[in-house]
């Protein structure tokens, strides 16, 4: 490319802080965690709304609960946020980073929903998180596939 070509390129301004990919990755983990908590709360409170039999494999009966509606709202926000992340971050990084929720959700279920579990489930969750790290850790400096 000649100098004239370079000068003709649109100037790359740094993105404003609220579009920072790291911020949106964090926001996604938070929204996913909050939405799962709200959905679980709603599923527990689910009024037995009549659901046609062919849909009985779904959790449609829980849709009447305000908790579930709030959970869906949070989920939709996380979905819009996710579409933005898909445009800006490679999928094999964006997807696993949002898996921070694998630590946040059991923790929140313990603290906020009073769920109790033993060391076996705890160890399984730790293995999952370590496994995630093996998949998502950044590429080494020497190059090579990410």
């Amino acid at each position: 490319m000649t100098e004239a070509d370079v000068a003709a390129l649109p100037a790359r301004r740094p993105a404003p802080w609220y579009l920072h990919a790291g911020l949106h990755l964090g926001l996604n983990a938070a929204l996913v965690t909050i939405s799962e908590l709200l959905l679980k709360k709603g599923a527990l409170a689910a009024a037995a709304a009549p659901v046609p039999r062919w849909l009985s494999w779904t959790g449609l009966a829980a849709l009447g609960s305000g908790w579930v509606v709030a959970g869906i709202a949070c989920y939709l926000l996380s979905f819009v946020n996710w579409l933005y992340l898909l445009r800006t971050v490679p999928l094999h990084i964006a997807f696993p980073v949002t898996n921070l929720s694998h630590a946040l959700i059991p923790l929140a279920a313990w603290v906020l929903l009073g769920e109790r579990f033993g060391p076996v489930r705890g160890a399984g969750i730790v293995l999952l998180i370590v496994g995630t790290w093996f998949i998502v850790r950044p590429p080494d400096r020497r190059g090579g596939p990410a």
């Binding site: 599923a43 449609l60 490679p90 489930r121 293995l127 998180i129 496994g131 093996f134 998949i135 596939p145």
Partner: protein, 107 residues
């Protein structure tokens, strides 16, 4: 976990990964964007309805780790359908995650 619940978990996670792949292709292409995003959204809707049912029947801290299945499937799918290259260590991750989910499932 019953066999039916296990089947629902697996189906839901397959739908989730298929949905993610379709969205990724939809958001990074100009041709066929709308149909891919629509199909991806339909897949994620199925996943969501199945998920609500599982949440009704099981602890959140029990069922949530099985979301990890989608990452294991995603490693295979992004290699096959998106042509992304995986390092050898990604496969160690797949093994560890699978072991983790078995432990949670035994619980």
């Amino acid at each position: 976990m019953t066999l039916i619940q296990l089947g629902l978990v697996v189906l839901a996670q397959v739908a989730q990964v298929a949905g993610q792949i379709l969205l990724k292709q939809g958001m990074t292409r100009t041709v066929g964007r709308v149909s891919r995003v629509a199909a991806g959204t339909a897949m994620l809707t199925f996943w969501f309805l199945a998920w609500l049912k599982l949440l009704q029947d099981l602890d959140l801290s029990y069922i949530y780790p099985f979301e990890g299945l989608s990452l294991v499937l995603l490693v295979f799918a992004s290699k096959i359908f998106l042509g992304e290259q995986m390092r050898g260590s990604a496969w160690i991750g797949v093994g560890l995650m699978t072991a983790g989910m078995i432990l949670v499932g035994l619980n």
